[in-house]
């Protein structure tokens, strides 16, 4: 369905070239929910946005991304229109910043539907709002972003993402800012969508990841460090970063990982996690581990675990 090879996103910065997304390889199968978790700032949103041609102008993207066999990174600006909305839909992170303050909800839906040549009837809009659990959909259609609470905007962002009925839905933090009862509803709603299409989910919410995903990928400092089927991942995370991440969850010990996220301009030599890793050996400081298949469908980037 979606295959990503050696995807990189680079920026020129005053301190030299930085590479927030570094040679990512992954495959998302038909009707699979593939979830990326990882540190804030590790490159998840840039990765997602590069699949939609939505990166800032000064970003350099390289690598290959195939959707149903078609390479999309080399597409011209005009051709993106065919992909966006029809093939890939996006539920963007942080709707407060991304919604246009001068458009009401009707306006946003209208633009989105028109962009991909889909009918934009009022009934369709109302049913989309209902689907995402927005009460009083008719009244809400005429409201502007500043009149909505954070959670309401989030639900609206999901409605925009699924409006054009894409084959792959990219959902960047779709449950951010929702109360648990609504979150539960959204999780149930997304898991229904899940039987209809592939979903690339990006989330910090491990509860959502656990309940929705087929596969989990863990990202650290621009790289994927582990890919695993969801159940085996939560039973036994293998990469030291993954297992420490689980330990920081409030349902677990809630202990933070010692040390700090490496700066983009000064990524550690060798394994990028070595300054914070309890298992680090001499080799880890000098050699860069590759993402290796270890058992079944599990891939790990770690000398101690491979």
């Amino acid at each position: 369905m979606l295959s990503i090879r050696d995807l990189r996103v680079e920026f020129e910065s005053p301190h030299g070239l930085i590479m927030p997304v570094d040679s990512v390889d992954m495959d998302i199968l038909d009707k699979e929910t593939f979830t990326i978790i990882g540190e804030s700032g590790c490159g998840k949103s840039l990765l997602a946005n590069s699949l939609l041609g939505l990166l800032p102008r000064d970003a350099k993207v390289s690598g290959k991304v195939h959707i149903d066999g078609e390479e999309i990174l080399s597409l011209k600006k005009k051709e993106w229109r065919r992909i966006r909305g029809n093939k890939i839909g996006l539920v963007f992170q942080n709707p407060s910043a991304s919604l246009n303050p001068v458009f009401n909800m009707h306006g946003h839906l209208y633009e989105t539907l028109k962009y991909s040549n889909k009918p934009s009837s009022r009934d369709k809009m109302v049913s989309l709002l209902k689907k995402t659990g927005i009460k009083n959909p008719l009244r809400r259609l005429s409201q502007y972003p500043h009149q909505l609470s954070g959670g309401m905007k989030q639900r609206f962002a999901i409605a925009l993402g699924i409006a054009t009925d894409p084959d792959i839905l990219i959902a960047d933090e779709p449950t951010n800012g929702l109360d648990v009862t609504v979150k539960l509803k959204i999780v149930q709603m997304l898991s229904k969508l899940h039987s209809e299409r592939s979903i690339l989910l990006i989330t910090h919410d491990l509860n959502v990841a656990y309940n929705l995903s087929d596969k989990i990928a863990v990202m650290y400092a621009g790289e994927l460090v582990e890919i695993a089927p969801v159940n085996s991942f939560f039973e036994k995370p293998i990469h030291p970063y993954s297992s420490q991440l689980l330990v920081s969850h409030p349902e677990k010990e809630m202990l933070p990982i010692p040390g700090f996220t490496p700066q983009l301009t000064q990524r550690p030599q060798g394994c990028r996690f070595h300054p914070r890793c309890a298992l680090a050996s001499r080799k880890c400081k000098h050699e860069h581990p590759g993402l290796e298949k270890i058992e079944g469908e599990r891939y790990v980037r770690c000398f101690a675990c491979a």
């Binding site: 009149q147 954070g150 933090e173 991440l245 349902e251």
Partner: protein, 263 residues
């Protein structure tokens, strides 16, 4: 420390002038925050938590009711009372990306409140670096604009900014929602230390019940503009009274990492 008495607030819901219909967003809200405690507010999205917090820092005006901070009425502050309010109470917003000025370098966003205190630029710089360290960021982030940082990094900048002036009461509106659980744990440790070192009181708004259960002394549950339950944390989680609280807790356990029902 802070007492809220019978607060009401409504917004006009129609955008058509002359046909204003107003909706009540807060209705008869009364509670108090005791010194040094962590009071958490949970509740439906859209129930008025942010609006309530904004009333407390005078970013919204309530229709009725009183807000009393250390014995002083700050409901409709004059200039002097307002500056009293701002030295005592700081708020960190739900959306860091929109609360930081997009045209200011991170350095200036952090330095601004310090400069207002007439510190010399050397001290300002030192303090800015110290603040960055506190929230787990480093110098490389200083000379960027908010759009060049990730969501979580912006949130940490917003936290650093709000603690710059040592407030007595910190209001945190869903500040960790955009962060990974490890950074979240780190920030909560930080808040815990700051609370101790600076004698801070914390009003923490969150949707993450597992987190609230861990950090709150007391919990207030809101629904449709009202406080439907307020009690010690243990009571709220183990002996919930209102139907809505019960619903929240049951949703939480359905989504829990120890539950397989949804799969």
């Amino acid at each position: 420390m802070l007492e809220v008495k019978a607060l009401d607030k409504s917004y006009s819901s129609s955008t058509i002038p002359f046909r204003k219909k107003s909706t009540k967003v807060l209705e008869n809200i009364s509670f108090r925050i005791n010194k040094h405690e962590t009071l958490c507010i949970v509740g439906e999205s859209g129930c008025g938590k942010t609006t309530l917090a904004k009333c407390l820092v005078n970013l919204e005006k309530p229709d009725n009711g009183r807000i009393i901070l250390e014995g002083r009425d700050v409901t409709f502050p004059d200039r002097k009372t307002l500056s009293f309010l701002h030295t005592k109470v700081q708020m960190i917003f739900q959306n860091a990306d929109t609360s930081l000025n997009p045209r200011h370098l991170i350095y200036d966003s952090l330095a601004e409140p310090l400069r207002l205190q007439c510190q010399n630029e050397d001290n300002v710089r030192k303090r800015v670096l110290q603040l960055l360290n506190h929230v787990g960021l480093s110098e490389e982030h200083l000379h960027r604009y908010p759009h060049q940082l990730s969501g979580g990094q912006n949130q940490r900048i917003a936290i650093a900014r709000s603690i710059a002036l040592h407030p007595d009461l910190l209001i945190a509106d869903e500040i960790t929602a955009a962060l990974d659980v490890s950074v979240q744990a780190q920030i909560l440790q930080l808040l815990k230390t700051l609370k101790k070192e600076m004698d801070m009181t914390l009003l923490f708004i969150s949707h993450d019940l597992a987190l609230v259960k861990r950090i709150a002394d007391r919990v207030a549950v809101m629904q449709e503009g009202k406080i439907v339950e307020i009690n010690d944390t243990n009571e709220v989680f183990h002996n919930p009274q209102s139907p809505y609280t019960k619903q929240l807790i049951s949703s939480m356990s359905k989504l829990s990492l120890n539950n397989h029902d949804l799969k």
